[in-house]
Amino acid sequence: MAKPVGIYVKPGSSKENKTGSWRTERPIFKHDTCTDCRICVMVCPDGAVFGSNYIYDPDYDYCKGCGICAQECPVDDIEMVPEVR
């Protein structure tokens, strides 16, 4: 039998690595003025914003706290606050 060449790893296994510990700032989704546009979902480089029907929240296990979602939210419904651990 032919020997496999190269390295195989499990798809999506990067989730083992909880990047939430990188955060120095934490996005707070206020659920106040949200228009359900989902721009926060689109612009998150980590694909860490989840939810439906006007209620969206980051997965804090992975959110790195870049603040792009807060910067881009057209109705200022996301606020960045210092991360406290």
């Binding site: 689109m42 989840f50 939810g51 029907n53 296990d61 792009i68």
Partner: protein
């Protein structure tokens, strides 16, 4: 934005409910820098391409941050090529799928950074285009060799400071303008070439969808700001990407069989180039107030002017 609508509480609003957000095909936990534009670009591309996509990725940040052994962020068949040959590897995948009769309803994507695409990988890319493989090539343009510590590439813009194009007594940064890579690709007379930006994610995803609906070789170059190499705070990635377009420095457009078919107009929204440049440390030396610095800024204004004319952005 409709203010009346935004003042009402969720339950009072009448709108068709969208399905809940699903996990991206580029899984969380990858090691891209906080606010990485390249990670954002790849996420947007993969989520349009879908799980039935074979991906070959050249060496570079995207490959390194997504696959630290023994983990992988990819939730589709994925292979790491060499730095220079993702186009050739993807071409081989496509040929193999055809030979096995498994080429229906699947996509093949080759991808790489600006260095991997415009410089070292340009030969393999050209060969893939010439042979007519049914492959989408995506170039993530963060305008330098980021993974090895910010060396200039053929797509580094004029006067940008990198470690190999430093600012100093005898230098204003990178001496050359961005290589016209989409033009070189379009000269292969392929069905579809587009430029896009993470500043306009909906436009980007439309272009990926369109490209994947076309049989044959196609190419998309995506402008992806890099907070580390461009030296700016991470929350500005999308903002800076938008300003690159609104200043005319990065034109976004589509070409079919070598002809320009559509471009994103900036019209009255046009911004002075300084608004884009001054946010980034790599252009800081242009804001010293010296007369020579003003001359350099004027050269950059001329680049924007040239783009606006050439691609009909006014």
């Amino acid at each position: 934005m409709n203010n009346q609508e935004s003042n009402t509480k969720p339950k009072e609003r009448k709108r068709k409910e969208k399905p809940p957000v699903e996990e991206s095909l580029l899984a969380m936990g990858h090691r891209a820098c906080t606010g990485c534009g390249e990670a954002l670009g790849a996420k947007l591309v993969m989520d349009v391409a879908g799980p039935k996509t074979y991906v070959a990725t050249a060496t570079g940040c995207l490959e390194v941050f997504s696959t630290p052994f023994p983990e992988s962020a990819w939730r589709m068949p994925w292979i790491h090529s060499l730095f220079e040959n993702s186009a050739a590897v993807a071409a081989g995948i496509e040929a193999g799928l055809i030979a096995q009769g498994r080429d229906k309803d699947v996509n093949v994507i080759a991808q790489g950074g600006d260095g991997g695409t415009a410089d070292i990988g340009i030969g393999c890319l050209s060969g893939m285009l010439e042979r007519g493989h049914n492959v989408l090539y995506v170039c993530y343009d963060n305008e330098a060799y980021m993974n090895t510590g910010v060396q200039r590439s053929g797509l580094t813009p004029f006067d940008a400071r990198t470690t190999t194009s430093p600012y100093g007594k005898k230098s204003w940064g990178n001496k050359t303008e961005k290589k016209n890579l989409p033009g070189i690709v379009a000269a292969h007379n392929i069905p579809y070439v587009a430029t896009a930006s993470v500043g306009y994610p909906f436009d980007l995803q439309r272009k990926v969808k369109k490209a994947l609906s076309i049989k044959g070789p196609k190419f998309i170059q995506i402008h992806v700001p890099c907070p580390l190499g461009w030296v700016y705070p991470a929350h500005l990635t999308v903002e800076i990407a938008k300003l690159a377009i609104l200043t005319g420095l990065i034109p976004i457009y589509e070409m079919e069989y070598g002809e320009l078919t559509r471009s994103r107009k900036i019209g009255k929204n046009r911004k002075p180039v300084e608004e884009y440049l001054k946010l980034q440390g790599r252009f800081k030396h242009l804001f010293s107030g010296k007369p020579e610095a003003e001359e350099e800024l004027e050269k950059i204004r001329q680049i924007a002017e040239k783009n606006i004319k050439k691609f009909g952005l006014a």
